[in-house]
């Protein structure tokens, strides 16, 4: 099962730019995403948020997003704001 998963990860890494990134959009702005090979993430330039790709699977739940300028901050401010609004 581990070998199969690793093979899948390699295949997805190679093909990722060509297929999946072309069909995906930012879940919040609905604008196109850009694949960043160096960070292995999908960038929403429209809202300045990056979404991670883990084990070849893009994580596009809005709260998975991270504001690009604040690399050291935990999770996105949007997620923090949304959480605090719902906790009130």
């Amino acid at each position: 099962m581990v070998r199969a998963s690793l093979m899948l990860l390699k295949d997805v890494g190679r093909g990722f730019c060509n297929s999946l990134s072309q069909m995906l959009v930012c879940p919040l702005s609905k604008k196109p995403l850009r694949y960043s090979e160096e960070t292995n993430s999908l960038i929403s330039d429209a809202i300045g948020v990056s979404f991670p790709i883990k084990d070849g699977i893009p994580c596009l739940v809005p709260m998975d997003g991270k504001i690009i300028e604040a690399d050291d901050m935990p999770k996105t401010d949007d997620a923090a704001d949304l959480s605090s609004k719902n906790n009130q």
Binding site: M1, M23, V25, C26, K30, P32, I47
Partner: protein
């Protein structure tokens, strides 16, 4: 201090995030035994229902199909066979654990045509797909679990191509008291005891309340028409215990 960046083109909804998070965690917990329990609790019939769900979409060779709340991938694999190697299937779920199982099942399958499936972790209420992209959408046992059913239907409508269909399989909230009685009895006396054996009693007790909070077939049809589908029909299957909404954009 965190800086709030304005997002002019997005809509933040005051959804009960904790409720959605709880459901996400629930599906994460049941992920390892989800497939086995589906087989056991439905005596394998869920496979038939899912084939019907896929047929109702009208998905064909070369199509782009989406399976929402894909879980461990049952419907995605069936769609994959329908659309073939020239087609594409996207399976979306908010549970990392379920997607991990789906991805592993894909890797272990001998059938090469399952290579046409991509998995995406996402929210059915904020789909990461552009307007009018898909030729067919399925959703199996997902609509009942989302916190905003209207929003989910709106998103399905948005990403569907005009003339294409969505097919939503779920428990049926029957208007017949006898059917409700049978359904409740089966949950109390079959589903929960079996789930208890897997240490998941509380997770499956959730079924009864989620069916009570769900919409009837007529209400689902009305909701689909309300969000813009041109046609909507709810079919009761398996003696009324299950139902399948088919809506055309």
């Amino acid at each position: 201090m965190a800086v709030c960046i304005p997002l002019p083109s997005c809509r933040f909804r005051h959804r009960p995030v904790r409720s959605s998070l709880e459901r996400q965690e629930l599906f994460g917990r049941i992920a390892p035994v989800y497939d086995n329990l589906n087989d056991l609790l439905s005596l394998g019939q869920h496979r038939i229902w899912k084939r019907m769900t896929v047929s109702w979409t009208g998905a064909k060779m070369g199509d782009c199909a989406l399976d929402l709340c894909c879980g461990s991938g049952d419907l995605a694999f069936l769609l994959s066979e329908k659309v073939g190697s020239n087609g594409k299937v996207t399976g979306l779920d908010f549970s990392k654990e379920q997607l991990s199982i789906a991805s592993c099942r894909q890797g272990l399958a001998p059938n090469a045509c399952y290579n046409n499936i991509e998995w995406v972790e996402g929210d059915a209420l904020e789909l990461p797909f552009s307007d009018g992209y898909f030729d067919a959408i399925t959703m199996g046992y997902g609509l009942r679990n989302v916190v905003d059913k209207e929003r989910a239907m709106q998103e399905m409508f948005r990403v569907l191509k005009p003339g294409s269909r969505v097919s939503v399989l779920d428990f049926n909230k029957s208007t017949q008291p006898f059917t409700n009685l049978i359904q409740e009895w089966m949950i109390d006396n079959v589903v929960v005891p079996v789930a208890t054996g897997y240490g998941l009693a509380k997770e499956y007790e959730y079924l009864k309340s989620s069916i009570k909070e769900f919409l009837t077939g007529k209400e689902l049809e009305r909701l689909a028409l309300q969000v813009g589908f041109s046609n909507a029909r709810h079919y009761e299957i398996s003696g009324g215990l299950m139902g399948n909404l088919v809506a055309t954009r």
